[in-house]
Subunit: 455 residues, 2 copies
């Protein structure tokens, strides 16, 4: 990380590209939209699926020590008593309009944010959680909340998981799912919205080994972004100061990304200590602990939590991939996605609309589609079609021409270099496989060197 | 379909297996659970992922004429005015305790259900939708709803999708996501819960071709279940009678499955006509229609909607796979999952705890895991370990013994037949690949014969 500020893309360009090409639309747009809610379009949903799948592959499937979970959004209200969400957010709050930190109004002596000096909102009686009513009657007894984080679903299932999987410490539980926060200040496109998707890991360790695992997960998560193509110079580790630490946390790192609006949190890694399990044991009256077969000790595990946002990751991948370069009289817009997350891997483009090349192109298309997400495009000039694929980040185009009918060869055109190579159709799949090797990226090399953040 | 009732599994056995082996837990269990909400455990989440992925592969990725979408759960309240959900469910309702149909109390002359004669609940002022409040103040103006179906997100984006993808009719939009209904009567495990996940397709066609496409999708969806292993005799098509049709529907089929509690809806396929697009055009004041380049006609498309439930499908796959057979003195419990949806494809089991066979087993495990979801188990006798894998539906076990160190061969044991074969380690991956060919199941053979439901 150098002192210089790297080049940033304009947010308006990202929003406009997303709108124009079907990555992201405002939710309920025909009705004027719903504040800070977003719909993922045909390309956006594939990008999002690829990001979630890459995370699941790296953090669950390819690991021995993490299992998955998928818990419900609606939970018992006492969960939020134990977690501190009901009490912690029921006070009159002011929020800093600049850094979005919230303060209890009665704790403040000034009308400027104690952290950054920003302007504060008026105090409001405000709970971060969306409330709703379960059952046929709308009354206090039936008030429940939409979860503001997926984490609690994993804490309350700790004993269920150890009982059914027989996992030994250290091990983790991972979950991808929607959460809801009735934020006062939203904005910056999908960066801060009221409905969002999380990818969270709760990693349970023996107290005393928590610092080591906290560092391990910080590195592991930084590397995940780097391996999927995020530029190192756009990432920064920011340790929380003691004043800034949440009530449950012993230590916390933010992985910040250089978004168009500046450095902002992409993921948080927290050492939560035994706070959560102790709280839930206390409120539920159930025993929640761990018995170590080898040392014959019984104790409450500490928890290391890497908590990432799907929508924020997606925005970071979009911003990081966005590039413009002069191309003759025009500007070529390219999304330089890592092949592993590109919504479409290959576009098949016949150079003629005549029957024979079209038939061959469709045959190749049908064959490739069994393995990858592939598109077929016959409209307009080949130049225009290349530009369309560049703009949505398709790594490779395969063109089929009249010569292909004679020599059984096709052309592969690479997005990043615009280089073209001619390959026999019989070797097309294996050639693409090698070029798309990003598909196999998520296997950690045993004992492999892990990139260390310098500060 | 014969007149005889096929063998049914006991629901309690399914619930107990799910609890014991970590497929499904009651939500917030340590706090006594939250009525009819469920958490998917380590095996359940993988099963669910496989089902959703199989659907997405078959209905989006492998098709030319369907694109995906992922719209937000929170939508503009006018969406629910247009759809009829606000008005349609704001009346005093009674519900049949047997068939769960709801009736407006003031429309009824009897106190028994007009359809099945079942007992009715007391009338209640009841809206099916969960309501919540967006923004900092809890007031009428900020009331919004959790979506009761994913469908509307696709209707309101119809024009966004045609504009950005240039898709021509007939084409579809597909979505997987959570929906919420404040059901009066819940139950039967995950069959009817208040928070559930849907897999819906909205297929847009030219009016006049709708009947043909309605039939096409009915067959396609029936076949999807059959190809993934559901027994034909446990599936039944049930056309809705004219009285039973929803206000938006021109025709509707239920795909019923023989659940432990009897025949019940697994998926609905509806011909919604132009109801939805006309309603949204009318309430939003926006033009929503389609221009046919070839015929130069402008019209509002009709919609065919195959609407499936993820949780119901999962329950059907579990019930259908469940089997018991006598095995010496005991009962062998087997989940005969199709390999494509089995949570774990292969288990690697060393026959000895000695260093060398364990090292070889772990090497094989690490290698296979790069391709599939694989587990490794060294605890207890090999018989017990086989039973554990049978009970969670793992199609293949690979055992490593001392002889493996000499002849470089391992044993593959098949779940269904319990047959064992010996293969060279160098051929293990390709042998398993062939045996797990279910992975490639979802490619429709061009011109292939489609199973036709007989009634």
């Amino acid at each position: 990380m150098t002192g210089e500020t790297p080049k940033r893309v304009d947010m308006e360009k990202i929003v406009s590209l997303c709108r124009r090409r079907g990555f992201i639309f405002p939710s309920s747009e025909i009705y004027g939209g719903l504040s800070s809610c977003w719909d993922y379009g045909p390309l956006g949903v594939e990008l999002k699926r690829n990001i979630k799948e890459a995370w699941w592959q790296a953090e669950v499937q390819q690991r021995d020590d993490v299992v998955g979970l998928d818990t419900s959004i609606l939970m018992h209200p006492r969960v939020w008593e134990a977690s501190g969400h009901i009490k912690g957010f029921a006070d009159p709050l002011v929020e800093c309009k600049r850094c979005h930190l919230r303060w209890r109004a009665d704790d403040l002596n000034s009308d400027k944010c104690p952290t950054c000096g920003g302007e504060l909102t008026e105090p409001r009686q405000f709970n971060l959680m969306f409330k709703t009513f379960m059952g046929p009657v709308e009354e206090k007894a039936s008030t429940i909340y939409l979860r503001p984080e997926t984490a609690q679903g994993m804490f309350v299932n700790f004993q269920n998981v150890t009982n059914t999987t027989r996992k030994k410490l250290p091990f983790g539980i991972a979950q991808i799912g929607k959460s809801f926060r009735n934020e006062i200040t939203t904005g910056n496109f999908v960066f801060r919205s009221r409905e969002f998707e999380q990818m969270e890991i709760e990693f349970f360790v023996k107290p005393g080994t928590d610092e080591e695992w906290f560092n391990y997960w910080t590195e592991e998560r930084l590397n995940w972004y780097v391996k999927l193509g995020i530029k190192k110079e756009n990432l920064k580790l920011r340790p929380h100061t003691r004043d800034e630490l949440a009530h449950y946390a012993r230590a916390c790192y933010d992985i910040d990304y250089l978004f168009p609006m500046g450095w902002a949190e992409l993921e948080g890694i927290a050492n939560r200590g035994d706070f959560d399990l102790v709280q839930h044991a206390s409120l539920s009256g159930k025993t929640i602990d761990y018995f170590d077969d080898e040392t014959k000790e019984r104790f409450v595990p500490y928890i290391i939590e890497p908590s990432a946002g799907v929508d924020r990751s997606l925005l970071a991948f979009l911003c990081d991939a966005y590039d413009e370069e002069p191309d003759k009289e025009e500007i070529r817009v390219v999304l330089r996605f890592h092949p592993g997350i590109a919504p479409i891997k290959v576009a098949v483009l016949p150079l003629s609309r005549k029957e024979q090349p079209v038939a061959l192109a469709r045959e190749i298309y049908a064959d490739l589609r069994q393995q990858w997400s592939v598109t077929y495009d016959i409209a307009q000039s080949i130049g225009r079609r290349y530009r369309r694929q560049d703009e949505i980040g398709t790594p490779f185009c395969v063109t089929v021409d009249f010569q292909s009918l004679e020599d059984n060869q096709v052309t592969i055109r690479e997005r990043d270099t615009m280089n073209q190579i001619r390959v026999p159709i019989s070797e097309l799949k294996t050639t693409l496989q090698a070029k798309l090797k990003g598909e196999e990226l998520f296997v950690l090399p045993p004992g492999g060197k892990i990139w260390k953040e310098e500060r």
